[in-house]
């Protein structure tokens, strides 16, 4: 897989196929047993702790349910990395946080606690926190999971616009085919640990590969079987000897 600068790339596949594991490998949270992940030419799993932390300062990760710090306000969540990694005065941090929150349309929520936000709002605040230090690579783990249609479109558009504004690279792990096809530049389909299909949204829409067809049209059965592998149904019911 390659993630060129400035592009938004989606990784899709059935549940349990290893999409999130792939993100964890990119972020250096896991070490690969085979192969390697390179960011800016550097092999991630060969980095020591200091080098890994240095790399992560240029990385933004949006977790599936936001992972906002529940003991901090929205403002403090977005300001967290600025306070930890820079010596900026509070006045500048204030302005930067407001700009980041404005970018996701939630400047008015800066005083709220995460528990007071809806799921969609929490995801947008987490997005503001993710881009707090203008990362060069942004990883999204199921950013559309559990969102209503309006929030889903908003988050999708934000991913595209923020990536273009920052000149960053975005990797989106998702199940949401329709929303992804609207915003991404390239798509990888993963199954059983290998890439089974890849292409631009137009190529994917036109694809006649059974796996892609099943995934895009949400068909129950196909290359990804409906039934989990098991003994014969008749045998389980005791009908056959």
């Amino acid at each position: 897989m390659q993630f060129p600068k400035g592009k938004v790339i989606a990784i899709m596949g059935g549940s349990g196929c290893g999409k999130t594991t792939l993100l964890r490998l990119i972020g250096g949270a896991l070490k690969p047993t085979k192969g390697e992940v390179r960011i800016g030419g550097k092999v991630i799993h060969e980095m020591d702790q200091d080098a890994l932390y240095e790399m992560r300062r240029k990385l933004g990760v949006l977790f599936q349910f936001g992972a906002l710090f529940t003991d901090m306000s929205v403002f403090d969540n977005v300001a967290f990395q600025m306070r930890e990694h820079t010596n900026l005065p509070e006045e500048i941090i204030h302005d930067l946080v407001m700009m980041k929150l404005h970018a996701v349309g939630l400047r008015g929520t800066h005083y709220l606690m995460p528990a007071e936000l809806s799921g969609g709002m929490a995801r947008r605040v987490a997005l503001a926190r993710t881009i707090a230090l203008d990362p060069m690579l942004i990883l999204y783990d199921e950013p559309f999971a559990g969102l209503d249609p309006i929030s889903l479109t908003v988050v999708g558009q934000l991913i595209r616009k923020l990536n273009d504004a920052l000149g960053a690279t975005s990797v989106v792990v998702t199940h949401d085919v329709q929303e992804s096809l609207k915003i991404v530049d390239y798509i990888y389909f993963v199954a059983d640990g290998v890439i089974v299909a890849e292409g631009t949204p137009d190529e994917i829409r036109a694809s006649d590969k059974p796996f892609v067809h099943q995934f895009i049209h949400g068909e129950m059965d196909g290359p990804v079987p409906f039934h989990y592998p098991s003994e014969s149904y008749m045998q389980d019911l005791g009908v056959l000897g």
Partner: protein
């Protein structure tokens, strides 16, 4: 059960226990190693002293008062048989500063603050807050765990001292105000029999050691908890059980070293 299955189960348990002890020791070392930022930004520790120490004040003060009152009643009944009621102040004070203060304050601290620490860290892990911090190049051990550890170590001796002080007051209320022991002899006996180094300082050392034990267990259990509701609940229970046993075991060792000299 076949003997090889029994041996396998025992072996598995032993290996698992040794592994956990090793992991906990390394965890403890990492907390110490990554404590620098906590002291450079003392506000982090201060905040945790409030949530683990100040928020435990009510239970510590109320429990200390009742323990002192019971000591006053029981002590008076016993001392009366030997005509030594005037020694009630000594009995109450020595019992509290040497043993009951550090031990009971430690047990209450483990139940109130230790369990809260485990649940909080466990839930932060479950909701991926620790993973998020790690991905932001901020060490959760330095930012979340170390401040809580030092807050517990600082709070524990203070809570123990307050427990003992409140207990002495409880003993005074029952012994002097309710039963009628002479107030002068109550305080003077206490003053002459309680030695700062031998009694009070040793009590402070005990509570300091209990603070280290309880917070280490609580933080380790939270950090190591499986990221599920059941995992966090099990970790919280283990914190209270293991902390309580650790306090009682350490109390025996420390008492033997301090007061018997072996």
């Amino acid at each position: 059960m076949p003997i090889n299955k029994v041996l396998t189960a025992v072996g598995h348990r032993v290996v698992n226990t040794v592994w956990r002890i090793g992991f906990a020791s390394r965890f403890f070392w990492e907390i110490l190693r990554q404590s620098g930022p906590s002291f450079r930004r003392f506000g982090l520790i201060n905040k945790e002293v409030f949530s683990s120490g100040v928020m435990s004040l009510v239970i510590i003060l109320v429990a200390g008062m009742f323990v002192g009152m019971v000591l006053g009643l029981q002590g008076f009944e016993t001392l009366k048989r030997y005509g030594s009621e005037s020694a009630l102040g000594s009995l109450v004070a020595l019992s509290l500063v040497r043993e009951l203060g550090p031990v009971l304050a430690g047990l209450l601290f483990a139940s109130r603050a230790g369990s809260a620490m485990t649940a909080e860290i466990g839930l932060m892990k479950t909701t991926e807050q620790l993973a998020a911090m790690e991905m932001m190049a901020v060490s959760p051990l330095a930012r979340v765990v170390a401040p809580r550890f030092w807050a517990g170590v600082i709070s524990m001796p203070l809570l123990s001292a307050l427990f003992s002080a409140m207990g002495v007051f409880g003993g005074y209320v029952v012994g002097v105000m309710m039963i009628g022991v002479d107030e002068g002899s109550f305080w003077s006996q206490m003053q002459s029999s309680v030695d700062f180094q031998h009694d009070i300082l040793n009590g402070i050392i005990k509570s300091f050691v209990f603070g280290i034990a309880v917070t280490t267990i609580a933080l380790f259990e939270g950090y190591d908890a499986p990221p599920t509701a059941e995992g966090v609940s099990g970790a919280t229970t283990r914190t209270v059980v293991q902390s309580s046993l650790a306090i009682l075991f350490l109390d025996f060792i420390l008492t033997a070293l301090m007061f018997r000299g072996f």
